[in-house]
C-alpha cells in the first residue's frame, strides 16, 4: 500500500480495477472522430479524416499549445498548477524575436529592427533560441521557488508570473510587433516542424515519467507529499525542477509560435495556459495530483484539434464551437469522476 502511494504512476496495478484514464481519452477521441466523419458524409458528402490537408492542420494547430501542455501536465501531476505559460509564450516570443531579426527587408536595410543600433541583426539562430530558453528557465525557477520554498499556493504564484510576464512582453517594445526574422529562425516553425518537435518532446518526457527516478518522484509528490518527504525525496528541489521544465517548455512553444507566424506581438499566447490545462484534464490528468500522463494529454490535444478543424469543415458558426468545446471539457471530467466513484463503490 505504501508502495502504491509513492509510485502509482510508474507501476499501475493490473487487473479489472486498473482501467487507465488514457483509455477514456482514447475512446473519446475515436468517438468524436467517428461522429465528425459521419456528419461530414451526411452533410457534405465527403470524407473528413481521409482529407490529408485537414489531418495536417488538425495536428499542426494544436502543436504549440501541446508543447506547453507537456510541462503543465507534469506540474499538475505534482498537485500544482501553472497559469503563467501563455504569458511566457508572449514574453519569450517577442524578446527572442528581437534577437532573430534580419538586417534587410525587401532588399533594403531594415532599420526598424529592435537592436539595429547595436548591430545585433542576422545573428546565428542559436542566439534567439538560447535567449528564449534561458528566459523560460528563469521564469520557471522563480515559479518553482515561490511554490516550494516561499510556500505560496501554485495558483497565486503562477498567476503573479502570468501578469508579470505579460507586462514584460508589452514593455519590451511598448506594444509594437516585432517581425522580419532571419530565414534560419523562420525555419523552426515552418511546415510540420512544430509537430515533430512536439512528438520528440512528448516521447522524451513520457519516458522520463515512466522509467526514471524523476517520474517516480513527480508522481509521489502529487500523491502524498508527506509520504514522499518521509521516503527521502527532496520535495522542494524536485518541485523547482518540475516548474523550471514547464517554463522551458513554454519557452520552446513561444519560439516555435513566433517562428511560424514570422512576427511576435505582446498579446501572443493569451489563454494558451487554459487550453493546455484543458487538454491535460480531458486526457485524464487529475487536478488533485498524482495521476495522469503525457500520452493522455496528447490524446486530449488531438481531441481539441479534431473539434476545431471539424467545426470549420462542417461550417458550424464560431459561437457554437466555443459552447460545445466548453461542454466537452466539463463532460470529460464529469465522466472521469463518475467512473472513479463507481470504481470506488465496487472496490
Amino acid at each position: 500500500m505504501a508502495d502504491m502511494a509513492i509510485n502509482p504512476g510508474a507501476a499501475a496495478p493490473r487487473g479489472r480495477r486498473a482501467w487507465p484514464t488514457e483509455l477514456n481519452a482514447l475512446i473519446g477521441l475515436v468517438a468524436i472522430a467517428l461522429v465528425f466523419e459521419a456528419l461530414a458524409w451526411a452533410i457534405r458528402g465527403q470524407t473528413f479524416l481521409g482529407n490529408t490537408a485537414i489531418l495536417r492542420i488538425m495536428i499542426l494547430q494544436v502543436a504549440v499549445v501541446g508543447i506547453i501542455a507537456i510541462g503543465v501536465t507534469q506540474v499538475i501531476i505534482t498537485g500544482g498548477i501553472d497559469l503563467s505559460s501563455g504569458s511566457l509564450v508572449g514574453m519569450v516570443g517577442i524578446i527572442a524575436m528581437s534577437f532573430a531579426q534580419a538586417g534587410t527587408r525587401n532588399g533594403a536595410d531594415f532599420t526598424g529592427a529592435v537592436f539595429w543600433e547595436q548591430g545585433w541583426v542576422d545573428l546565428p539562430v542559436a542566439v534567439p533560441i538560447a535567449v528564449g530558453l534561458v528566459l523560460g528557465l528563469i521564469a520557471g525557477v522563480v515559479n518553482g521557488a515561490l511554490v516550494a520554498y516561499a510556500k505560496i499556493p501554485p495558483f497565486i504564484a503562477t498567476l503573479g508570473m502570468m501578469v508579470t510576464a505579460r507586462g514584460v512582453a508589452k514593455w519590451w517594445t511598448a506594444g509594437e510587433a516585432v517581425s522580419n526574422p532571419t530565414p534560419s529562425f523562420a525555419a523552426l516553425g515552418q511546415g510540420m516542424m512544430p509537430v515533430l518537435i512536439f512528438v520528440a518532446l512528448a516521447v522524451l518526457f513520457q519516458a522520463l515519467l515512466s522509467f526514471t527516478l524523476y517520474g517516480t518522484r513527480t508522481y509521489a509528490i502529487g500523491s502524498n507529499r508527506d509520504a514522499a518527504r518521509m521516503s527521502g525525496i527532496n520535495v522542494e528541489r524536485h518541485l523547482v525542477l518540475v516548474y523550471a521544465l514547464a517554463g522551458s517548455l513554454a519557452a520552446v512553444a513561444g519560439l516555435i509560435a513566433v517562428s511560424r507566424q514570422l512576427t511576435a506581438q505582446a498579446g501572443l499566447g493569451v489563454m494558451y495556459e487554459l487550453d493546455a490545462i484543458a487538454m491535460a484534464v480531458i486526457g485524464g490528468v487529475s487536478l488533485v495530483g498524482g495521476r495522469g500522463s503525457i500520452i493522455g494529454t496528447a490524446l486530449g490535444m488531438l481531441i481539441f484539434g479534431i473539434i476545431i478543424s471539424g467545426f470549420t469543415f462542417l461550417r458550424v458558426d464560431a459561437y457554437y464551437q466555443e459552447m460545445i468545446k466548453g461542454g466537452i471539457i466539463v463532460g470529460a471530467v464529469a465522466l472521469d469522476v463518475w467512473r472513479q466513484r463507481r470504481r470506488a463503490l465496487r472496490g
Binding site: L39, I57, G175, A177, V270, T312, R315
Partner: protein
Amino acid sequence: MTRNTIAAGLIGILAGTASAETIGVSMALFDDNFLTVLRNGMIAHAQGLEGVDLQVEDAQNDVGRQLNQIENFIAAGVDAIIVNPVDTSATQAMTDAAAAAGVPLVFVNRMPINLESLPDNQAFVGSNERDSGTLQGTEVCRLLREQGTDPARVILIMGELSNEAAITRSQMIRDTVAREDCAFMEIVEEQTGNWNRQQGADLMTNWLGAGVEFDAVVSNNDEMAIGAIQSLKAAGISMDDVIVAGIDATQDALAAMQAGDLDVTVFQDAAGQGAGAVDTALALARGEEVAREVWIPFELVTPENIDGYLTRN
C-alpha cells in the same frame, strides 16, 4: 426522444449552411464594437445574395489562431477567404498560405504590411485613414474661419502612438494646418490619450489647470473627444466657445453632437467595408479582375447631416 430532437436540430443547423459558394471569414476579435458592425454588415450582405454562405470565425486577437483558421478554411475547400488581420505585420504568412493553395484572399479594414506585393487573387478592402484626418481637419478649419478666429489655437489629442491610424490621422491634421487656406490655425498642444475617454478627460483637466488657451480640440477618436468635453464642462466652459472634433461617429458621439457638445465627427463605414469585402471575395472567386485596393470612403458628420447617421453604426 429528446436526444433525437437535438441531433436533428443540430443537423438542421449544419445542413442549412450547405450552398453554392462558401467564404471563410476570420475576424480579429468578436467583442469589439466597430468590428462587430463590420461583421454583421458582412453577414447581412451575404444573406441578401443568392447562394452565398459565410463561415465566420473568431481569432480572439491571436495571430496563431488566425493562421490556423485560414489553413482550416483552405482544407475545408472554401471558395474564398476574408481576413480582418489581428496584426498587420503577420499578413505575409497568411498571403503565403492562401497563395500556395490558390484560394482567393481579401484583407478587410486593417491594411496588410505586404499590400504592395499581394498576388493577383488577393486584395484589400478598407478606408483610407488619410481621408479621415483630412475631412476632420478641413471641417474644423472651415468652422474656425467662419467664426473669424485668427489666430486659431488648436489642441491635438492623439491615439496610441504605435498605431497606424493615430499616426496618419495626426499627420493629416498637421498637414491641414500647414495648408495655405488654413494657415491661421496653430497647434499649441499635442498629447496622446491612447484612444481612451478617461485619458482624454485627464489631459484636458491638466491643460485647463496649466492655463492653456485654445479655440478648438481635435481628437483622433470620439472617445477622447468626449472625455475632453466632460472636463471642459466640469470646468464650467461653455461648449459654444470651443470647437470639438472626433472621428468614428459612435453612438455616444452622435448623442454628444445632438446635445450641442461635439461639432465634428467622421463616419467610417464598417458595414460598407464588410459588404465590400464580400463582393470583392466573390469577384475573385469567380475569376474576375479586381483592383488590389478597394476604398470605402469616410464620410463627414456634422449637426446638419447627423440624422442620416443615427442608425448606421
